[in-house]
């Protein structure tokens, strides 16, 4: 029940917001805070029930090893000679999604507090905000591809309006660019989704439909094997096949229909490439747009610069993680051989993002744009860590996503603080802010140092794990050559460069602002702002000092990934190359 509540509580509050008449007070603001507070509490309750540590159920590719599972029949379309199309309401968590859900709940709560200052068209704003917070949470929990896609697409529309109505001067351009880019990504995902559900079937439900078994409880392995044989030989005709959107079912090679395009054993090629590898590539590009990775990142600076502060916080903190999560759950989960085959490409995209993003950040004059490019740079580590596919590097990739969620939320709030006061974010227009705003400067120092990877803070752990893992990769599985992480380390240097340089330019030295009257407006952090920064800073420290609190959640899942998925991937890759050599 918990997961359903987490997803649907914001929707209930959205309806309340729509029904409460506009009065010009802070009713809607309160409702949003209550809703995301409840979401946070429920997530904490979920964490309480979640089994973690060694020996806990890993999830990943085994349906029974997911936790807090909710499954109910949703859509069953009987298509006559084509069989049945089965869509379930199927949600659950494992070690990969749990930390991300926790982080999202925190970030959404902070964003709802940060929305306190919104004073224009509040009803619409909070209705859309709640809609957004419902769909991003659902995205991390869905284990049915259709459900995932629903949540994945459904956040585009609220985001489009949130940027387009409450954004900055070039909001219209930024919002439509965001929408078109990410829709392009989701169309690629949709192509793969269609291909997958046509290629796979659910053996248990097919058996029930064909009258071979009566219930879906405790079906013996032999019975299942019998059903698979009957499908193989055509004894169970196409009209009894139950096609499914279940992501876990799609991970199992024996659930693919014989001769279906995405069956591993199929020798068909599309444009000279194996369909499965092509499908992985489609997912990779689709989610790389969302992540975003160079060269698909150009929407991000525009969207961030124009979006209002709380929306930037959610965009950077949560939405980008869906790109990384999607490639893990769907890309690596369903097509592990693609991850192994394209490891150089993924690592290369990651490293290029790290360095290119960092150089761009250095050149930016606008504080928010700098932070946006630093996001591109930091998300590059996720790709590098995934490509190396060792225990440490995947830990690092997921940890980096969680840590960046918290840190980017902090960074965008920092940019928001200064913008709220003076409506100007150009770095060159300020100097010596530390004299005037000591508390703000302290927060900035923590956030910047955490982001550039100072030991003891969360950013360090993620990057360290990624580097450790990817250095090892050459000797463990030979996926990523050692020079790539070596090159990537320069990204950290550049990162230190732009963060420290910004700190020096804006905060140190003699106090000066471009417009003299800004001095009056520049007040230090107020209570509400402190209440947002203090928990985030605490989380950063806790994650940096006790990383095992987070890694404990994911260790069994990561182990399952590195063992099961890696071997499945190798086996599939062998099959595929074997088919082509004959």
């Amino acid at each position: 029940m918990i997961l359903t509540l987490i997803v649907f509580i914001p929707l209930v509050f959205m309806v309340i917001v729509l029904l409460v008449p506009q009065r010009g007070d802070k009713t809607y603001h309160m409702l949003a805070i209550v809703s995301s507070g409840l979401q946070l509490l429920l997530t904490a309750a979920g964490l309480f029930q979640f089994k973690s540590g060694p020996g806990s159920p890993p999830g990943i590719n085994s349906e029974t090893a997911f936790q807090l599972v909710e499954k109910a029949s949703w859509i069953r379309i009987d298509l006559g000679g084509f069989g049945i199309l089965k869509i379930d309401y199927f949600m659950g968590l494992d070690g990969i999604s749990m930390p991300l859900v926790l982080m999202s709940a925190v970030v959404i709560f902070i964003a709802s507090v940060s929305s306190w200052t919104v004073d224009r068209k509040t009803k619409g704003y909070f209705a859309l905000f709640l809609l957004l917070s419902s769909s991003v949470m659902g995205c991390f929990m869905a284990l049915d591809f259709f459900l995932f896609y629903l949540f994945f697409e459904f956040m585009l529309l609220p985001m489009y309006f949130l940027i387009g109505i409450w954004g900055g001067p070039r909001r219209e351009y930024a919002s439509i660019k965001f929408f078109l880019y990410t829709l392009l990504g989701s169309v690629l995902v949709l192509v793969v989704m269609i291909g997958l559900y046509i290629s796979t079937y659910d053996p248990v439900d097919t058996g029930i439909k064909a009258g071979l078994i009566t219930g879906n409880k405790n079906v013996a392995e032999e019975t299942l094997a019998g059903i698979r044989d009957k499908v193989e030989t055509g004894e169970i005709g196409p009209d009894n096949i139950v096609r499914t959107f279940n992501i876990i079912t799609m991970m199992e090679a024996s659930n693919y229909l014989p001769d279906s395009v995405l069956n591993v054993g199929n020798s068909r090629r599309i444009l000279g490439v194996s369909p499965r590898l092509l499908a992985f590539l489609f997912l990779l590009i689709g989610f790389a747009i969302k992540l975003p990775s160079v060269p698909f990142h150009t929407w991000l600076p525009d969207a961030h610069v124009e979006a209002p502060t709380p929306i930037s916080v959610i965009l950077a903190g949560v939405l980008l993680k869906i790109g990384g999560y999607g490639i893990i759950r769907l890309g690596y989960g369903i097509f592990p051989e693609g991850g192994l085959h394209f490891s150089m490409l993924i690592a290369g995209l990651g490293v290029v993002s790290i360095i290119y993003g960092a150089f761009n950040a250095m050149a930016m004059k606008d504080l928010k744009k700098l932070i946006a490019y630093s996001s591109v740079s930091h998300m590059g580590f996720v790709f590098l860590g995934l490509a190396a596919f060792t225990v440490e590097s995947i830990h690092g990739a997921v940890f980096q996503m969680v840590s960046h969620g918290i840190l980017s939320a902090m960074l965008f709030l920092i940019a928001g603080v200064i913008y709220d006061r003076t409506h100007d974010r150009l770095i060159e227009n300020y100097s010596g802010l530390a004299n005037k705003l000591p508390q703000y400067t302290a927060v900035v120092v923590v956030a910047f140092f955490a982001s550039l990877g100072l030991p003891g803070l969360s950013g360090f752990i993620g990057e360290l794990f990624v580097f450790l893992g990817s250095f090892n990769s050459e000797s463990v599985n030979n996926l990523v050559p050692r020079w790539l992480p070596v090159v990537a380390t320069s990204g950290i240097l550049i990162g230190a460069g732009y963060f420290l340089w910004t700190l020096q330019r804006m905060f140190f030295g003699k106090f000066w602002t471009r417009e003299p009257e800004w001095e009056m407006k520049l007040a230090d952090l107020n209570l509400r702002e402190k209440s947002m920064f203090i928990p985030l800073i605490m989380i950063t420290f806790v994650m940096g000092l006790f990383p095992s609190l987070v890694t404990k959640l994911m260790e069994s899942s990561v182990a399952a990934m590195v063992n099961d998925l890696y071997h499945t991937g190798l086996k599939n890759l062998e099959t595929i190359t074997g088919l082509y050599n004959n």
């Binding site: 379309i77 084509f82 387009g164 109505i165 929408f179 169309v187 192509v191 291909g195 559900y197």
Partner: protein
Amino acid sequence: MAGTAHIIREILNSTGAIIPETVIALMIPFILLADLFIFRKQKFFFTIIMLFGLAVTSWFLFVEAGWAGGEKYTGAFSGMIRIDGIALVFKILFVLSGFLFVFLSLVESKPGKFHSEAEYFIIFLGILLGAMLMVMSSSLMMVYISIELVSLSSYMLSVFNFDRKSVESGLKYILFGAVSSAFMLYGISLLYGFTGTLNIFSGEFIDKIIAVPPFPAFMALMMIFSGLLFKMAVVPFHIWTPDVYEGAPVSLIAFFSIVPKLAGLVIFGRLFYLLNSLPGNIEWVTVFGFLAIITMFIGNLAALRQNDPKRMMAYSSIAHSGYLMVGIIAMNILGLQSVAIHAFVYLVMNFLVFLIIEILTPPRGPASIPEYSGWFRHVPVLAVLLLVGFISLTGLPPTGGFTSKMMLFSSAWYSYAEGENKIMLWLIILGLLNTVISLFYYLRIPYYMIFREATNAPIQVPPQRNGFIGLGIFLAALIIIVFIKPDWLADMLNSLNFTYPEITE
């Protein structure tokens, strides 16, 4: 004389098969006479008569479908018509859009420069009757007659505004239409010469076509197809569409953008299935797959630059012809089912959009897209309904447009998996890419309504139109219900035995 007696008996036995069409046909003279002698130009009475007539028609359709008991017909009139699942489903869709048309016509205060409401309804009934006969035809002669019935009514429709613009567009349409009819008739006569029969379902027809050398057969069939593609507004036979849409009243356009298109699609599908069961070296799938891709691109790209909502919707309807063709070309049962489901969803969402556009039409005349600026403030509910319609036309969740589009492209994928025809893969990729293009223009009206500040006088919805907001809410809810629970649509199709048209006799 025995022959004559046989024919008379056949005709008498067959009359049961066309009861719904007979009701429609009888309504035409009834309304004409009633207009002259009884209810002179009283809109209210005609509306009641129309609704009553359509209700009776749908009752007989239910009987025909077996939902209300009663015998089922298959072939009738010596192979002139044939009632199968496909014909029934589309006839039900036509009558459904007939109902929506009547409601929509109530919204319009003055639909064009008509002499009276009756003329307007008679044209509509002509198109409806033609379309219903068209989907039942099994003889090429019947196809031609019913297409002409639709066409003649449509010609009148396009000039009914009687201004310079509508006369120009009407003349264009008549010329294009006449040429395409001529082509079609020529193609039919060639085929008759080759085969000696006009019944497309007879074994004789197929056997003889196989014997014809490929090139003459290709030419003859292509001529017939061109007439159908003209009705469906498929590129390169689409040029008339925007002009006619711009000139005609909205309610008729909403009806006209759906019914003749679907009727043409059904005949196209029947011929297409037939041809692909023939051995031969003509790659029909590739030819029409290519046309479908071009149609989507031209429709969507041209729509990007339109500033008139009606013209934009005209190009949108061209693009949707391309999407609908995908399901036919896929040549599988999933494709047929998804065509039917997409047709239903398209009908609902198109009517929704036209309904809202009509409700929002200011008294001084139709508004261009930039004039919608800032209207969200004044009519938030209508703006949201319009948004639902456009989101569904784009094909994004959570709307029925997503479900049906996903099914259409699934059928293409399935066809690719079974048959390895490369064009299907391109159809999927380029077709879905078109979704991204179409998003841009479908969001333009909501964009102006919601993002832009008002530049002109606020919009005021006349109070007599307020009642129709309820209809809009109903249609929008229907679109969302199709997304949440599409099971019943498929069950309904299955109960009508909606399968491949097989060859009999």
